[in-house]
């Protein structure tokens, strides 16, 4: 098998990646040995691959580590559930100073959807909670008592849930209910 320069160039990448038949590989080596141009191209390309493969090529922006460390949520998600980060998001929202609870509970609240639960008293307005379209209560995300006859479960702020007449789940939100 004999190959010309153009054929060598077309196969250089595959050659460097070891992705060629033994026959073609041999043919390329035979050609390159006697061809100055192809030697230059092959060695140069090898240099490219080798140099860019070095970790030092890419420089990280300043303070890269500190920046993402600061962006990590406060709570570590627990294994097997996806709501740890939601709690964190909610916590962050609270920390960042949303205290609209008083207003949320006193202003235009729809009629309660259920009389079987107590009305929310101390639930942080910005806490994200889950509601089902056909349910009556709102839940901490992941609560297994959520009404799931439909898949219309939404994640909304507690204040909005209360405004829409949802009442807190007595299981997952017990700590927020009046004793």
């Amino acid at each position: 098998m004999v190959v010309n320069c153009a054929e060598v160039w077309q196969q250089i990448s595959n050659y460097l990646d070891g992705d060629l038949s033994a026959e073609l590989r041999q043919a390329i080596e035979n050609h390159v040995r006697g061809c100055k141009h192809c030697t230059a191209v092959l060695e140069g390309t090898r240099n490219v691959v080798r140099l860019y493969g070095d970790d030092r090529v890419i420089e990280l922006p300043a303070n890269f580590t500190q920046k993402w460390q600061q962006r990590l949520p406060l709570f570590i998600p627990s294994k097997g559930t996806a709501y740890g980060w939601l709690v964190a998001v909610a916590a962050l929202a609270i920390v960042s100073g949303t205290f609209a609870l008083g207003k949320a509970t006193t202003s235009t609240v729809q009629a309660l959807r259920s009389q079987h639960s107590e009305q929310a008293q101390k639930i942080p307005a910005a806490m994200m909670v889950e509601v089902a379209a056909d349910g009556k209560t709102f839940h901490v995300p992941g609560c297994k008592f959520i009404h799931q006859s439909s898949d219309k479960v939404r994640l909304i702020a507690a204040a909005d849930a209360m405004r829409a007449g949802y009442v807190p789940c007595v299981r997952c939100l017990r700590e927020y209910l009046r004793r």
Partner: protein
């Protein structure tokens, strides 16, 4: 929608004991363990973001987001995959979402069309002898490489970065970019040859003595 699957499976036997232990510790609430886990891959995360987003500020932002996302979704990591691969995949997904948001791909499309155009022919036959890796300690060499890389069109740059900087396999690169294996190979060849054309004259003596030739200007 949220995935609330509660599969209480223990983490399968790890390929890499050290990383598996760090993952366990992170999930138990040890934030320092997460830093230790991610630190060796920070550069690769950033490079992956940079592969798809030309803008350094965007790339940094996406890289940061990807790491935070890896943290919040760490419980979903399955040890059949390598942690680094998983982390890079998250980064690529985030970067692609950002691209769509920026509509950058309207102008610089990553899709499978317009490939296999005319074959790329080397333009430069300078005899570039081996450049020792120690030269990378030199800032101007790194800058030269970064500049050369940035000059490639996005479809070549992304393939090159994932394959030759991230060291993904051809198949992994194809999957990450949602293009065919054949396209990865074509673009990779072209990217490598173009970089060689740019760098050979500058690094032929292992030294950026002269400025690489300007586009369209033949040095011979």
């Amino acid at each position: 929608m949220l995935s609330l699957s509660t599969a209480p499976s223990a983490i399968p036997p790890p390929q890499n004991q050290r990383e598996a232990a760090l993952i366990r510790r992170t999930l138990q609430g040890d934030r320092d363990a997460f830093t230790e886990l991610v630190k060796p891959y920070e550069r690769r995360v950033y490079a992956a973001a940079l592969a798809l987003l030309r803008n350094e500020a965007d790339a940094e932002d996406i890289a940061q987001e990807a790491i935070v996302k890896a943290f919040t979704h760490l419980h979903q990591f399955r040890a059949e995959a390598k942690f680094s691969t998983w982390l890079i995949q998250i980064t690529i997904n985030q970067a692609r979402m950002r691209q769509r948001k920026n509509h950058a791909n309207l102008y610089d499309s990553l899709d499978d069309t317009h490939d296999g155009e005319e074959d790329y022919v080397p333009r430069e036959f300078a005899d570039w002898r081996e450049t020792p890796p120690e030269t990378l300690e030199r800032k101007e060499i790194r800058a030269l490489l970064a500049q050369a890389l940035a000059s490639l069109g996005e479809k070549y740059r992304s393939v090159f970065v994932l394959r030759d900087i991230e060291q993904l396999s051809i198949e992994e690169t194809a999957k990450a970019l949602a293009i065919s294996v054949a396209n990865v190979k074509t673009r990779l060849l072209r990217a490598r040859l173009m970089l060689r054309d740019i760098l050979a004259p500058a690094l032929r003596d292992g030294w950026p003595g002269h400025v690489p030739f300007q586009k369209g200007e033949k040095p011979w």
